[in-house]
Symmetry: C2
Subunit: 136 residues, 2 copies
Amino acid sequence: MKIGELSKSTGTNIETIRYYERIGLLPAPDRTAANYRSYGNDHRERLAFVRHSRELGFTIQEIRSLLDLSDHPERDCVEADRIATSHLVQIVAKIAQLETLRDELSGLVGRCRGGAAADCRVIEALGNHAMCNTRH
Amino acid sequence: MKIGELSKSTGTNIETIRYYERIGLLPAPDRTAANYRSYGNDHRERLAFVRHSRELGFTIQEIRSLLDLSDHPERDCVEADRIATSHLVQIVAKIAQLETLRDELSGLVGRCRGGAAADCRVIEALGNHAMCNTRH
DNA sequence: ATGCACCCTGTAGCAACTACAGGGTCAAGA
DNA sequence: TCTTGACCCTGTAGTTGCTACAGGGTGCAT
């Protein structure tokens, strides 16, 4: 299949597919006589793996390691679990951080009803860290 | 004060301060005879405003608008509230998204106890979107 | 006079794409 | 046959918000 079809069937931007090839995340496919990329089912599966991992927030580096494991089924899979676990820890931390931001912003928002910026609580609070309830 | 002192007193990287000046977020300060940047209290306050806003996750563009309002106290502050509110909405959405990821990853992690990668549930699940419980 | 901490400019790198510019290919319709 | 339009190619530059040099100047203490 040509790149446009691969793009549609995986929901991946064409430029992104070429980008993945350039950085060595996807293998370079065969070319047609007209120098068009020609993909097979294995390419589609690999790309689906990459996209799914990206959707789950894994970095390209992490995906490289995961693909490497996937390419060597005889290896120990402890590493895959380690990557996923450490990624999960980061996500949990990020959620906690965003919840702090959310609470801080909630206290700021909805206080301005068209007054002058001089009396704006939002602007005041941004300039004055001491007004914060939480640490960030 | 020189840039090093401003850096320490606001907890901002020196390179970051110069970067903010370059992109026009901070005004260019006076220079000493030796061409060193020389900052006053107004610079420190403006930088604190910027840093605080960044900590709360506002983008540089949003901060530009907020600073602009802060520089024109006679203006209507509805815009500041709009920026903060829309930012809050994005944070809430991001939290929801990360919670989905967290739940999905939780179901993946901790299943590998040193088996071969061929039987790895993590790798299998990454390759097979249909195994997911949630949409992403 | 020499070492060291500090400052300067300018450029390049990071992640993970995205967006062109400027060109080639191919099949269908007039 | 010619042309139109959809598709493909490479290569480069832009995005965000910094960070990290390289290669040099300044200022003060020993």
